[in-house]
Symmetry: C2
Subunit: 136 residues, 2 copies
């Protein structure tokens, strides 16, 4: 049983060929990718199956999703130990030049100081600008 199979097992998701391929593809990315991007990474794969794979992964905490405002949700593998709680989550950065969405894993979400009565469950924080690769 390899590392990906282990993760699927831990998260109570059945291991299938398709799911392992998707995990493998996601692990190779430097950025968060869209369903469309994922589809493009395969020769012959059904878009809907990939869609449902991502949805399953998201529900089970294997990937996290980012609404970066482009209209297409981006996905990236969670880091080991991530429970996808606001404390676990990190900032995402959308570069207006290269149009890629980066996980800034080391930049955690700062304390938001919400007004009294607001119960926090999730946070989607997308900073936009120019990434370090594009700003030379």
């Amino acid at each position: 049983m390899n590392a990906f199979e282990n993760i699927l097992h831990e998260k109570h998701v059945r291991s299938t060929a398709m799911r392992l391929l998707v995990m493998d593809t996601l692990a190779k990315q430097q950025t968060a990718i869209s369903l469309h991007d994922l589809e493009a990474a395969f020769e012959h794969a059904d878009r809907i199956t990939l869609y449902r794979t991502l949805k399953t992964f998201e529900e089970k905490g294997i990937v996290h999703s980012i609404e970066d405002g482009t209209g297409a949700t981006k996905y990236a593998l969670c880091e080991p130990g991530c429970q996808c709680s606001p404390q676990d989550l990190h900032i995402h950065f959308y570069c207006n030049k290269c149009e890629k969405t980066y996980c800034l894993s080391k930049s955690k979400i700062p304390d938001l100081g919400l007004p009294k009565g607001y119960q926090l469950q999730e946070v989607n924080l997308v900073a936009k600008g120019v990434c370090n690769r594009c700003s030379d």
Copy 2:
């Protein structure tokens, strides 16, 4: 010249009946609203005209938009003096119960501590959970 006409004039947007009506409608909202919501607030108004009105308002800094992850962009009037820079902007809160998106105007965006080389231009910060009205 009333307050709305003043704002339009300041922001170099021509004053029209439609635009004044849209500003009036936006000013009456307690939450940020979608194009669809805006359309529903009128008896007979063309969706596309409303769409372009919102786009114009956004470009000229009269409204700000929020990508709350529901798929439909939300809009709200900017506060006086807002330049829509990351320092001016505030947190938004999407309530999973009432499904409304609130402007938390007093909760400014905290410092993000981006890694070196990342140039910040915009921030979209949406906290999700249960709002104070729904959490009693």
